[in-house]
Structures are given as C-alpha cells and as structure tokens.
Amino acid sequence: MKKIALSLATVGALSALITGASFALFTAESDNVNNTLSAGTVELGEVTSFSCGVSTDNLAPGDSGSCTVSVTYVGSLEAWIGVEYEVDGELFDGDNPLAISLSGGNEVDGHYVLGKFSDGQTATVTVNYQFPIEAGNEYQGAEGEIDLFFKAVQARNNTKPDGSGPSSWN
C-alpha cells in the first residue's frame, strides 16, 4: 500500500514537472540601450523691416523702386522658404493701382520660393513697386500697405524631383 502511494506520488511529481516545463523554458535577453530619436526643427527667426533706399511715403505717378526684406532661418533641418504678400488700401485700388512684384526667387506651382536654407542663413526677397504714370488725381494722398508672409517647410523628404521647390507646403 505504501509502495502504491509512493508510485502515485512519483507520477504526480513527474506530471507536475512536465506541465511546469512549458512555462519554465530557459530564456535570455540582450539590450541595445540609449537609442536617441530626436526630431529636428523648422523655424524662422527675425524678419527685418522694409529697406527701400528711398522714401515710399511720397510717391508720384511714374515712380518705381524696390525694397528688400530678409528673414533669418534658425531651424536645425534644411528648409524651403517661400513668401506671399497681401495689399490693402486705396493705393492698390482703381484703374491704375500701385503695381507690386517680387524678385529674388522663383514662382513654383503658384508659390514664390526663395530657395533652400540651412540654420543661420538669410533669405531675402525684393519687393518691386511701380506707380503708373497714368494714375490721376484720384490717387493723391492715397495710402496702401503691403504685408509679407514668410513660410518655411522641411526640405528633406519634401523636395520636388526637379529640385525647384518643396513638394508640399503643409
């Protein structure tokens, strides 16, 4: 009777061992530590005020000239910088408004692109104006304002195949 009891105990222990084995495999691990993944930045720095050489607050029909405005790029990622503008005021209304055009970059897909810039570089746009000689007295004392908007977008993974500008601005 004691022998039978011993045999049963042995079977029990074996089956426990077998059952436990599936949960007690030898395992090991190996670490590769300190993997750093840091996103870069796309950031515009300070924008200069308009530098026009001559005063633009006393225009007469037939006047033309240009002003420059610059922005410093301070992002860690290379970026495309573009510029847009809006005008407002009587000087830009009517049949012979003050005409504005930009230079210093290229028109790409409806966006004016100043180029590709790295940290610390400066992008400059030239704003050209021309007051038509045909403008009459209705413009005397008229005022107008132009607002420039600089924009930047990452260049890496976002450049057109021909390298002319970004694939997307957003």
Binding site: F26, T27, E29, S30, D31, N32, L37, Q154, R156
Partner: protein, 214 residues
C-alpha cells in the same frame, strides 16, 4: 549409544557452522558510480554592426551620443529627424559559448524608455514605425525578410513577437550570429508638435531555448 548419537549430532552442528561461516567469508566487491547533472545556460548578447564603433546604440543624433564607453565617437549619427525620414541600422545578436550552452530561438523584441532621460516625449512613439528584418535561411545569399512591423509604441507596451512570414521561428545556434536590421521611419504626417522633441529608448531582444521547445 546416547553418547555416540550426541557426538554425531555434534559433528553435524560443527559442519553446519563451518558451512555457514564459509558463506560469510566469500570474496566480494562493490562499486559505485556518481552521475553529475547540471542545467545548461542560455544567454545572448548583441552589438550594433554597421561598421560603427562598438558597443553603443544603433540610433543616435550626434557622434558624441553614439560614442562607446571608451570614448570612441560613433561614426553613423543620424542627425535630427524630419518627418518622412527612414533609417536602418543593424544589430548583431550572438549566442556565445562564453555564457551560453544551447541553441536559441529569438522570439520577440521590446523597448523601454531609457532611464535618466528628462523630458521624454513619449507621444513620438506613435509616429515612429519600427520594421525588423533578418535573413531567412542559411548562407550569404539568404533573402532578408520582415519579421516584425509595428509602431514603437507597441514595442514599449511589451514584447512584439518576431516570426518569419511563414510563421516559423528565428534561430540562432550556439556560437552563431543573427543579423537583425532595425528600420525606423518617422511618420511623414507627424505635425509641428513633434518639432524639437526627443525620445530615447532601449531595444531588447528576447530569446528562448530551442531544445524541447518546437
């Protein structure tokens, strides 16, 4: 008569006594044998392997961040990441006889935030996709196949199983080396909220004994 009978009986007893005594004095010998039992060990080690200095992390921004404990600068810094960036690095996983005695399966990979790093931006783990691949089959011409693909967040949440596309396990024999490529891609749709953010993680490769573990 009685005396003679007694003498006969006495002789029989003496012979019997001698016979019994003879049994007790046979030549004899005994031997024992000792069996030693010892459990084996399983351990794996790993090192980055893209021609870089070792040891060190696979992914690092600057050469200084990737330097070895001896001060050798890392030679393959990624630089800061931009949305859409994709970088592949190789991790050699060893099953060395110096600490292991058995073949192994590589079963999973997990990740954890590296300790002691302030300002971890854990949300970044949702925008980083990790693809792990390794050669399928033997020989230098064995094709490299994907064995796991998931956001880094999944690896941080727990071990992500690694298996060949046909479901079979990935082995690394005793003294063998398994090359594992880690490709990390920064989601191109990641927005400006990730600018200048950092995440530092440890990758952990998990192994199990191969024997008795089909």
């Amino acid at each position: 008569m009685n005396k003679k009978l007694l003498m006969v009986l006495g002789s029989t007893a003496a012979v019997a006594a001698v016979s019994i005594g003879g049994t007790l004095a046979l030549f004899s010998d005994a031997k024992s044998a000792t069996g030693d039992f010892a459990a084996g060990t399983l351990c794996i080690t790993s090192e980055r392997n893209d021609g870089d200095t070792t040891p060190g992390p696979m992914f690092y921004i600057t050469a200084e961040q990737g330097q070895t404990p001896d001060g050798l600068l890392g030679t393959l810094p990624t630089g800061v990441w931009a949305p859409g960036d994709s970088v592949t690095r190789t991790l050699n996983v060893y099953n060395p006889r110096s600490c292991s005695t058995m073949d192994a399966w590589l079963t999973a990979v997990s990740a954890r935030l590296t300790e002691g790093i302030p300002n971890q931006y854990v949300q970044m783990a949702d925008e980083l996709t990790v693809v792990i691949s390794t050669p399928y089959g033997e020989g230098s011409n064995a094709p490299t196949v994907t064995v796991a693909e998931a956001p880094l967040r999944d690896f941080l949440d727990g071990p992500v199983p690694i298996r060949y596309p046909d479901g079979s396990k990935i082995k690394v024999h005793l003294t063998g080396t398994r090359q594992m490529q880690f490709n990390v891609t920064f989601n191109r749709d990641a927005g400006n909220e990730f600018q200048d953010k950092t995440l530092v993680v440890d990758f952990i490769v998990h192994a199990e004994q191969m024997r008795n573990n089909p």
